[in-house]
């Protein structure tokens, strides 16, 4: 399935799903706005057409079928996030998209990140967003929930950006995907043999070399995180602390006037 950049079939398979997706977004949001069933049906049909087009140009091994299922669910969640008028439904669509993204991360052997994303995004962030929504939202819909600012322009910008991304990724002048270089050590945790055998590295010495060399394990991720990226971890901790202090200071009630 290697299509060339100048191949009209390739261009058809690339541009058609994106344009169909943008059209389905516009149809759906106008249909939800005007409560017209024809527009909603047109949006759903064009979205299904986009999905079918995209899958038709995709490979069909078992892993890729699972990945395509997760991608489709995430895209459905994203579209429903875009077109939902109730903010709570929009948040649920966002949660759907993020949970399917977690499935993709599992299949890409990023186990720790899948769990962390599930906890941080779909757990904490969604819960806090819903809390703020219920704090600030009245029962009926507001004008700013219903009205959008220039949805056609926004959809056009998104479609053009997505076409550009697709061109850069899959075009013949795009990013060359190199085969992985196994000879180069990727981590400072992979020590040379004389250091491995020294008494100062008891932990590393007792590990089999395959468990360090083969990526995909959470232990290896942690080892790389705390050897190669120690300063980044410390900086991230500092940023978290500053953000916590800032959030507490910002969300405080203004002090009463003390006489």
């Amino acid at each position: 399935m290697d299509y060339q950049f100048t191949d009209p079939t390739w261009q058809l398979g690339m541009i058609t799903p994106i344009v169909l997706g943008a059209l389905s977004y516009l149809f759906l949001q106008h249909g939800v706005l005007a409560k017209s069933k024809q527009l909603i049906a047109a949006g759903v049909i064009s979205f299904c057409g986009a999905i079918v087009f995209a899958i038709g140009f995709a490979p069909s091994t078992m892993e890729s079928v699972m990945l395509m299922c997760f991608c489709s669910i995430a895209t459905v969640g994203g579209i429903s996030f875009l077109v939902a008028r109730e903010p709570v439904y929009a948040a649920l669509g966002f949660a759907t998209a993020v949970l399917s993204t977690c499935g993709i991360m599992f299949m890409q052997s990023a186990l720790f990140l899948a769990a962390a994303t599930m906890i941080v995004y779909a757990g904490a962030t969604i819960i806090i967003f819903l809390f703020v929504l219920m704090f600030a939202q009245q029962t009926q819909l507001r004008t700013y929930d219903v009205q959008l600012t220039h949805p056609v322009v926004a959809a056009a910008i998104g479609a053009v950006l997505l076409i550009t991304i697709t061109m850069c990724v899959t075009g013949e002048k795009g990013i060359k995907l190199a085969s992985p270089d196994a000879s180069r050590p990727y981590s400072g945790a992979v020590l040379p043999e004389e250091l491995r055998s020294s008494a100062a590295n008891d932990f590393l010495k007792n590990q089999p070399i395959e468990s360090i060399l083969v990526p995909g394990t959470t232990a290896g991720l942690g080892r790389s995180l705390y050897t190669d990226y120690l300063i980044a971890v410390e900086l991230a901790g500092a940023v978290l602390l500053v953000a916590t202090i800032g959030a507490i200071a910002l969300a405080q009630r203004p002090a009463e006037n003390l006489s």
Binding site: S36, C71, L162, L177
Partner: protein, 163 residues
């Protein structure tokens, strides 16, 4: 690792990013704009993890962890900002804060809400009373205490507003 799967996942990350971008450009509620930002960041995370799997190392995953950390910080500060802004004006609309922008930007007049006007139904009221076109109100009309219009006073009354 299949190159086609890598490419497909990169495109999928672009799809998530563009969905978040469209949401950020078109939404007007502050909270949903920040949710759109989170969706853009999750698209970036998908990209990083795909590259990590492709290059068979941990660098992409570690960058994705950093992105997750910054996203959590951003969500906390954004929600604190939203709460403090809501205390000032009691609205989540971005346009309520338009006066912070430059003054040369022309004001776009607000068009009325058209939510559900295709399915809007007005109640059908039973017609009651006199048809004012057929039987105009006489000049000596005066309603009684209960408001029913059956008593016509015989004396001449200065009702000028019914003319």
């Amino acid at each position: 690792m299949n190159d086609t799967i890598t490419q497909n996942l990169l495109v999928f990350g672009g799809v998530l990013f563009c969905a978040g971008l469209v949401g950020f450009l078109s939404r007007r509620s502050l909270i949903l704009m920040f949710l759109s930002l989170e969706m853009m960041l999750s698209g970036v995370s998908v990209n990083l993890i795909t590259f990590a799997r492709h290059h068979q190392n941990y660098q992409g995953q570690i960058l994705a962890i950093m992105v997750l950390t910054i996203a959590a910080c951003e969500a906390a500060i954004a929600l604190a900002l939203v709460v403090s802004l809501y205390r000032r004006k009691a609205t989540l609309d971005v346009k309520a804060w338009d006066d912070l922008s430059e003054t040369i930007v022309p004001k776009v007049s607000e068009s009325p809400v058209r939510f559900g006007d295709a399915a809007m139904e007005f109640p059908i009221l039973t017609p009651a009373g006199l048809d004012p076109l057929e039987r105009p109100v006489p000049s000596d009309f005066e309603a009684n205490e209960s408001g029913t219009a059956d008593k016509v006073s015989t004396r001449t009354h200065e009702v000028s507003s019914h003319a």
